[in-house]
Symmetry: C2
Subunit: 399 residues, 2 copies
């Protein structure tokens, strides 16, 4: 059984990223979650430009655009999403595609399972993803014991005939790899989760053009608390079923969040399109620089202490940044060189991470959020530096 | 099969309540949905008092209060909900009860199905409600073909042994009746949906004190677009499972909406507690007066044209208003006296309503929203007045 978003953090009391407490050398710090609070300082810098003001009588109706398939999507957000993808060049979101907004891409993933399955099939459709896969996919697929779909594990070892759904996460969570579908058989339906396909995490090499693509504000801009995700969908029937799912699950999506997301995405696009002489660093340039600095520091520490290894990513030309850039994933996928339980080792140093077993692989791997605030990230590096190899006892137990 | 929230409106193009279009005598008007836009003018009157201002760097983390069971509930909203129930006197929400916030009470209803069922049972638990029941319960229970729970229809005719879940909606949607559980057998678990247990709809006769109670901002204040519902729960284990459901479904609930809901509920409580000499009508007094006026007008029209009948409700002492008041439900539950299809008859007069068959009863009933804007409500009365009995052809076909 896969542990969830919140409860994977052990019984130890730990400092959540959101708590503005002073960290001490005793504080247990939680890197198990991908809470993207790192971006707060950027948005603070922008001052009033992203502020939204909502009066008591605003946004009261259930409906946003009753004539549209996705009747709860606000036109402002629809417009801002399409524009941002055009500006960044990371996905095709032209007017012939449908946009579906959801309560995070989490809800949209489940809307897709519903939309891509059918109650008329003799058995539930298999849902697979290549290991290591996002730790929440199995539980999100299984928790309601649906007769429509069932989790079937690692796509590499999937050998059942008939229809199936493969989730392709690229860049991948947890390991940052650029991925393609691996099953490639007839009857396969693909969900492309592109939550991390933004310039701060990976070079933008082409405009993605898959049947269904998922994005989320949490990872794009850091506004996780808003619970806004979106899907870009080619097929009208699939869109209609997704909308039905969201209607039955939550009768739409917070308009306050939609309004704010539209505002923030609009400001990002404005800044990206500003080519004036006094232009400031835009959001993605900022993010790319910050992530790049963090990864450089992390690689240095990992190299120095010799206990762990990190994946290597090829450089590639980023169409958005306009030069060759590195991949700087939102998570570090740490592997212990001598095969010890990585998670346990880090917990001894008061670092809570998410063990590899949650992602369908062994405990010599663990996932660490790279999106925590500066103070936490620096403490993480400091503590990681202090690990000089496994203590003797552990080697003995292991041996 | 039960039709859903949006698609029950026939293929006719109709004016959604949210569209600020000018109504003409040709406009088809939709009363099938309970879009509570009627309250807009009240909130407009309050001016800046309910305005929220959200900066770009606000509300970014997933977490609201990581130490609490419901870690995504903002403390401000928790406080505002408990205070409002204390001020109104409609439910016990003391500190020993848990509050769970959801994406509308729709999501919380499903969270409860999950929390009150178990994957270890030999078969799915039966979910029942007494007819006429809220039209979305069956579909929300069935659409994912869950192995945990299944819709078992009318509570009055439920005779299966073993555990079951009964939904008790009081005042009831669609017919406004005050209800109690009807099955009353061992192993029964109750969900009390108290969405309409507010002074504008019904006399508040006591503080409700059930195991689980559902409320929603949509019906309490009219802010349907915010998608905020809440549950008051006695048991910690049930709370924990509900939180798990919401975590897996949507990783929490929009903070923008929570912040705004907290503000609005706070202003309502302030006004209710204001006993100064220059005090203005508070929100519930306003709502009660408006609903009472609408119901009076409707009863007059219905009496005059002689084609329909409406339920009768006993007067009762409302602890909040401080005098005997009538029930003024959010929906009119219209019955045709001669048994014709009520929905069809009204559609001939360009009024779209929700047919009784959606609520588990016959087509001689239909449900009409009483919460539309003034202009629409007046047109509704006008058109209803014009119905002078079934045309001859219909009587002939029927005979």
């Amino acid at each position: 059984m896969v542990v969830g978003f919140e409860k994977s953090v052990s019984a130890t009391k730990s400092v959540p990223s959101s708590a503005k407490k002073t960290l001490s050398s005793d504080s247990v710090i939680n890197f198990a979650r991908g809470d993207p609070t790192m971006y707060e300082s950027y948005w603070k810098r922008l001052g009033e430009r992203c502020t939204v003001v909502i009066s008591g009588n605003d946004l009261m109706s259930y409906f946003s655009d009753a004539e549209k398939v996705c009747w709860f999507l606000m036109p402002e957000l629809d417009h801002a999403i399409r524009r941002l993808h055009r500006v960044v060049g990371n996905a095709i979101a032209d007017d012939d595609r449908f946009i579906v907004v959801g309560n995070g891409s989490t809800q949209l993933f489940q809307a897709l399972l519903y939309a891509l399955s059918s109650p008329n099939e003799p058995e539930p459709i298999s849902v697979v993803a290549a290991v290591p896969f996002y730790s929440s996919y199995p539980e999100e697929t299984e928790f309601l014991c649906s007769g429509l779909y069932k989790w079937a594990g690692d796509a590499y070892s999937f050998d059942k005939d008939g229809p199936y759904i493969e989730v392709v996460t690229s860049p991948n969570n947890p390991d940052g790899a650029i991925r393609e579908a691996v099953v490639n058989r007839e009857g396969g339906k693909l969900i492309h989760d592109l939550a991390y396909y933004w310039p701060q995490y990976t070079p933008i090499t082409s405009r993605a053009d898959y049947d269904v693509m998922l994005f989320t504000l949490s990872k794009a801009t850091g506004h996780a608390g808003s619970r806004i995700g979106w899907a870009i969908v080619k097929d009208k029937e699939i869109t209609t079923k997704m909308v039905k799912f969201i209607e039955l699950s939550s009768i739409g999506v917070s308009k306050e969040s939609q309004l704010r997301a539209a505002k923030i995405l609009g400001v990002i696009s404005d800044d990206c399109q500003n080519s004036g002489p006094n232009r400031e660093e835009n959001f993605f340039e900022y993010g790319q620089r910050l992530m790049s600095e963090r990864w450089e520091k992390l690689r240095e520490v990992v190299k120095r202490n010799g206990v762990f290894s990190l994946p290597k990513y090829p450089q590639d030309y980023c169409n958005f940044i306009g030069k060759y850039t590195d991949s700087n994933p939102a998570f570090a996928w740490l592997k212990s060189k001598d095969g010890v339980n990585c998670d346990n080792l880090l917990r001894e140093h008061k670092l809570v991470t998410r063990c590899g077993t949650n992602f369908g692989v062994g405990s010599k791997y663990t996932r660490i959020s790279m999106l925590s605030p500066d103070e936490e990230f620096n403490l993480f590096l400091e503590r990681l530096s202090a690990i000089q190899g496994p203590p003797m006892e552990r080697l003995i137990v292991k041996g």
